[in-house]
Symmetry: D2
Subunit: 481 residues, 4 copies
């Protein structure tokens, strides 16, 4: 309801990094116990850039409890520079990269949230979405809390500050026990870091070590970039307290049925990460292999839609015996403000991202493997592009089932009306895409491919929401009455 005009922030459309893909909301990192904490957090944020490209922020706290904060809109590499990192000394750092699933898109909402709490800095970075955020905000407001952001994460900070529990650890526990939904959160109070995952463990959070330093972050690729060793995942419901290189397990949050997001494996996480104890690349190859079993194609070659479906396409190639081709070249020089020309009288949306290698497409019967299909707009453009380049047949294969339901746990999905899988049969979609054949991976095939892991949240395909949708239910109740 409230919009801020930020100084020095030019209005701009979000960069078109993902074409017609859902958006992850965030990546987080906490570094404790390293004199180079800011640099390590910077590198980790850079490695997590795929989890949020709208804004990034970094907070450091030095041994005397002095905090420094720097946030900006855009990419990590564009926001930070040498001079800034040099000023951010301290052995503790909290970093965050963000998309705006909840709360408007502005510097004001960029995380980490930082407040002055009893003469100490409190900084918090949150990945996930609370499903009782509105309820909490209303309650806190009526008790005199004032809000500085639109973000659901701010409620957690108020709950900590207002807890009547005496001890700091108990205050954290008290606060986290009151929030419902998805939260993988790292925060610090003065020199102490806390890291926690909600009891269902919707979003990933991993624990690593680099010498004496402890690192908590969203994906293992952020450990790899700094050469840290992966220790283990932070467990669902777990609350860790990290100080001076030691990791203490506090009392866990009340247990619930684990429910790890399966879409992380399908599309979000980097293929070089381990998520849910599982190789992301490995999972995607398994999806691709299973897809080839379920929906074989009589064709000449298999194309990936780079880069997110490379692994699945390799899996499909392996089982089908069709050669794998890198026939779509992706342009990576996509900066802050790509302009979609208007006068030129054409839709360049697909062309500015992908260009086919003519020799590999012309006269060929191609299988295109994509990881998922959301609105279908890009896929349709891609098919047109391939036909224009001379493809004889186009067979489309999707390495996951049709997405049919929105996500309330931290993924920015289109509405049900926009989800092509929600309102159309596979045959209708095939018709819309104008492809010769279309096949989706089955729900059973997907589950079976990763049966050693889980249990998973598959709400976006099935509508089975694991955590209570407090705000949604209340809103419906209000609308009904």
């Amino acid at each position: 309801m409230i919009r801020k005009i930020e100084p020095n922030t030019r209005d701009r459309a979000l960069p078109d990094y993902h074409l017609d893909k859902p958006r992850e909301e965030c990546g987080v990192v906490a570094v404790s116990g390293s004199p180079a904490s800011a640099e390590l957090a910077y590198l980790a944020m850079y490695a997590l850039q795929h989890r949020g490209q709208e804004s990034a922020g970094l907070v450091t706290v030095d041994e005397d409890g002095r905090e420094k904060t720097y946030k900006g809109m855009g990419l990590v590499v564009d926001i930070f520079d040498d001079k800034i990192l040099k000023e951010m000394y301290g052995t503790l750092a909290i970093g965050h990269v963000r998309y705006s699933t909840a709360g408007g898109s502005s510097l004001r909402n960029a995380q980490p949230l930082v407040v002055d709490y009893q003469d100490q800095p409190l900084a918090l970075a949150h990945n996930g979405n609370l499903s009782n955020a509105v309820e909490l905000r209303n309650r806190l407001s009526s008790e005199g809390a004032i809000f500085q952001t639109d973000s659901d994460s701010e409620a957690i900070v108020h709950l900590i500050a207002r807890s009547r529990r005496e001890d700091q650890d108990h205050k954290i526990d008290d606060a986290l026990s009151q929030v419902v939904g998805a939260f993988s959160v790292v925060l610090c109070v003065g020199n102490t870091v806390y890291a926690a995952r909600d009891p269902r463990g919707f979003r990933p959070l991993v624990l690593g070590r680099l010498g004496d330093a402890v690192i908590v972050t969203s994906e293992t690729c952020a450990l790899d970039i700094i050469g840290a060793t992966y220790i283990r995942d932070v467990r669902p419901g777990e609350v860790l307290k990290i100080q001076d290189g030691s990791i203490e397990e506090l009392r866990p949050l009340p247990p619930a049925e684990p429910s790890a997001c399966l879409f992380e494996l399908v599309y979000f996480a980097r293929p070089d990460s381990q998520v849910w104890g599982c190789s992301v690349d490995g999972a995607r190859r398994a999806f691709g292999r299973q897809l080839a079993h379920e929906h074989p194609a009589d064709a000449d070659c298999v194309l990936a839609v780079p880069d997110s479906s490379n692994s699945a396409a390799l899996g499909f190639s392996e089982v089908s015996g069709l050669p794998f081709e890198l026939a779509l070249i992706r342009n990576h020089y996509v900066g802050r403000t790509f302009i979609h020309p208007t006068q030129a009288g054409r839709d360049f949306r697909v062309r500015v991202k992908y260009n086919p290698v003519r020799e590999l497409v012309e006269g060929q019967r191609v299988v295109v493997v994509d990881d998922s299909l959301v609105r279908g707009t890009t896929s349709r453009g891609l098919v047109t592009l391939l036909r224009d380049t001379g493809a004889k047949e186009v067979h489309f294969r999707v390495a996951s089932p049709p997405v049919r339901f929105p996500c309330y746990y931290g993924i920015d999905m289109p509405t049900r009306e926009e989800l092509i899988g929600s309102n159309h049969s596979v045959e209708e979609i095939r018709d819309h895409l104008e492809v010769d054949s279309l096949g989706y991976l089955s729900m059973e095939g997907m589950r079976g491919s990763v049966s050693d892991f889980g249990p998973f949240c598959d709400a976006c395909w099935t509508g089975d929401y694991a955590a209570p949708l407090v705000d949604i239910e209340r809103q419906k109740a209000t609308e009904d009455s």
Copy 2:
């Protein structure tokens, strides 16, 4: 204790607008009931620029309660542009220009403070300094309040939000009753504007009207620029509620002995303003006339140190019969970051600001009239400059008594150690300035010149502090024990 690194805020020294003068902390304005509220507030802020050149901010609220905020570091004309003002629609606007007497110098501390308070925007702009800010902050923190700025003004917002009083008006009253010290404040909750002055009325606040619109602002010059009519001063302890063009007087705050800042007349306020019901130019001329009576000089002409002592010099000229000369030319092209050359091996601090007209100085016995003397550094440089230009004698006259004590009510004074008047006799100062004679206006002379007005706070000359120095006393108690 906590410092923020702000994005896009280059480090820079404060512009050297005033040489060796105390700094006013703020100017405020609220406009209610005009479709051009943002533009009117912008012009008022521009007219109040002399009251704060470090940052400026503007908040508008439209009839549906939607708020827009824009803040920046620097001058009003450099921060705002057409595009920004056009986006800031709404019939209500709150504006603020600022120096940082309390709270660090950064965009984070720029006012108006804006929070989301029970689904309504609450914006507050404050001129003055609370003398129990630390006490309040400690209490509020222990009750779970989290602070986003270093500013003492944030305490007022928390007090409003946390008040248990039922009605909005009473909450404001409740909050303002708890703060001690100097506050001339304008704030809005949704579409309602409140304006209040502390019971002693340290800082000015005036009420005006432009058609149906009501304007509350620091000085009358801000009414003049928009062509508004001055109605009256907001009275010490008064709380006004302004809505839809109507002005309601709420219950006043508990009464105290009025104590208007006399330094506003000596130096801060613009000469074309009415402050304390008194013409600022008129007061300064009276000081200059009285000064000429108290400390006549056998000389050829009277020079003002432009522009702040022009009025006093004219008064001195009038009584002494010595011709008034504009013999010091001031360079006004002082932008954001004047560089003081280092290699060139000289002190250019005075020369970049003032250049004498040689013909008017050479071979002359000159009287230099300045409005006040704080550290004495600039004055000394000025005397050297005049001697270098050929002045035969330099007689220095100060149109106020020696400043000897710091201010806790909203003026940024040097420490006692730095105040030349605090540690040296007039003769010692004369010696230091290397002038042929030196005369300060007497305390009695100053009071007598404005005896129709007041009572005044003269703590910076006398050390008689009108409002309890809660935080200072407590700090002393702690240090002593």
Copy 3:
């Protein structure tokens, strides 16, 4: 005909520093023989800021002939900072502040012009306007010269580079002998500085010394700020060669009748400067005294329109015996982009610049002294403002004759159609301004006041153009045929 869009240069209106005044085009400075040359030139440019506020540029050359250039749009203090100045080492510096009388307004046209000329840097800064620039440009183009700017000054550089004379000094002489019109120019070739004035000497240029360093600049105030000693004016037609602290007089340009711009004394130059060997403040006071003789007024006081007419008003006060009042307070916080509100439904053009001190105006019969009257728009607004503030009578006095003709020698005047003095009688102007009386200084009165100096160019009042208007004549010839 050609417009450049410059990177990082936001479109903006010119700052409204002068209300309805002609604009000087430039100020120049050359420093030779100081290790702090960049800093000294920076200070000089800052002192010359009144001569051009659109762009500024600085070039340094070190002892190995390495050149560094930095230019920007806006004020000197906003363009340069410590870091930039530190990088600009070298004992030679050429600086320039600019308005765009000839050539569009853009960074591309900012001076000094810098080119690579026979493996040496050649940098040139020019004050004045060439009256055969088009002719030269056409000739040079037809010979294969390519132009990078729209500026008339670029022709001089090409003429130097193309001269068939063998020796560097002769090439300079050759080039300057071919240009007609107004030029006070400083340039360097490698480590050698040349300074020259056109034979009529339209624009000022002075020579000074600071230790071993030689400084050539537009006004003495630029010598004062760095503590340099004024030696003498560069003479009309003189060409100086400056190297290693020595000043050599080269063969002068062919002689012509000197014709120093009288408007420099009326309005342009700073009152603390010596121009044409004459104190600017002194000249203006003489104009004001003479004006009081020619057009006395039965009134209560004399007001200056600050700051440019302060001196004249003091002169008027002296002769008339009417008290001098600083009754108009000028707002100096005019930055890069003052916004003239549109929705607020009024003209704030005068109010944002001046605010009257009510007590000094109300019920008074005031004499307003202005230095010159060009379009009359601001003066009219000012009169309205004074009447609104309660002035009983307004008597307007102008300390120079009616401006009736455009300038082709370096002043940006309105067209003849816009010049109110060109098309209207004094009585019509009085009527238009709605003043009780109006008086202009007579041509004879003006000349008589400065009869010890000159001869002067008074073309803007008389239409007697001293230097041939080559391009204008040719254009007329073309239009006629």
Copy 4:
């Protein structure tokens, strides 16, 4: 010798887009005859971004000959925005992306070069390097030409302007006949476009059509992005004149033995482009296949160093029968100023670019295929990374011969001292890289793979320079004497 400090250009290291690869200097585009010329050129520049990421510039000319220019440092998408493109109307556009092989790195040297030439705009964009640039510059300087940039391309502009030939076409011919070396150039004089390739045709230049518009650009991928049809290559020595949609072949330049750069196929050009009439992807696969024949490896899989060696690795996989794996994940979020951490005490240079997929590397014997090896620094880091990830054996294969000589025709190679292939045997390099085996593609193998195309310049491998190295020879002569 001369360095410019540019306003608003922050110092920064070049982005680390390519790790240890030679740098192409430029990409060019000209669009003639489209009302959307700026947008089409923008898209083409975006598609050519891999050919130069340091600066980009765009010039448009409308039907009345009015020119607009916009240039900036950085990526195309960061420099241009909607507002800028909208202001750049006109049916003709010339665009350029640039690295600085000749001339310093600054906005001043950004192309297109634009000058005012006989009252018409002349704009020129050049890909390649002139080998007699110094000679030309010296001659032109001595004749009175003044240079505004350090770029060798400026000589061409002067030669055109100074040509004594009467007709415009002959002037172009005259100018291009005097330059030696590599030039693929597009330029306009007013509304006419000229496009030319040097007689040896070192750099690519292709001709395309989109409706009535004619497009000349560096690679076919720039035609693809706008949906234009590829017509043919501009031939070596050919000069085309393009106006109103018609293409006229002017007299060709004096013939020479064609000598197309083979490194374009090895590394520079995009795999989806046709260069020298040859599919770039196809050529690289052929190199990879031949490499597998020449240097087979007993291993488990083949890894590409993404993205430039993907095609070669697929070719290697095809012949060797080893599975192709995308086991190195490349981070593409590399913006303007990636910071290489210093305190963290490690070299992150390779890690910030690539992260291995552990499952695909651990315990495996891997073949790494890279397209070329220049300094070897990155390759060594990559090998270490693979070993750290658990690779059992690492076999390195390079799909081109050892680079041993610098390029003087438009590629930024390290010096001979830095070229690892210049000073070391293959065995020494194997040792340095610490790999189990190392194999380079043979010169014969490379030539044989593309025997249907050419003849090629292979100077960087063989030292056989096709065009006279005029400046280099003269420099040597001077040094010897």
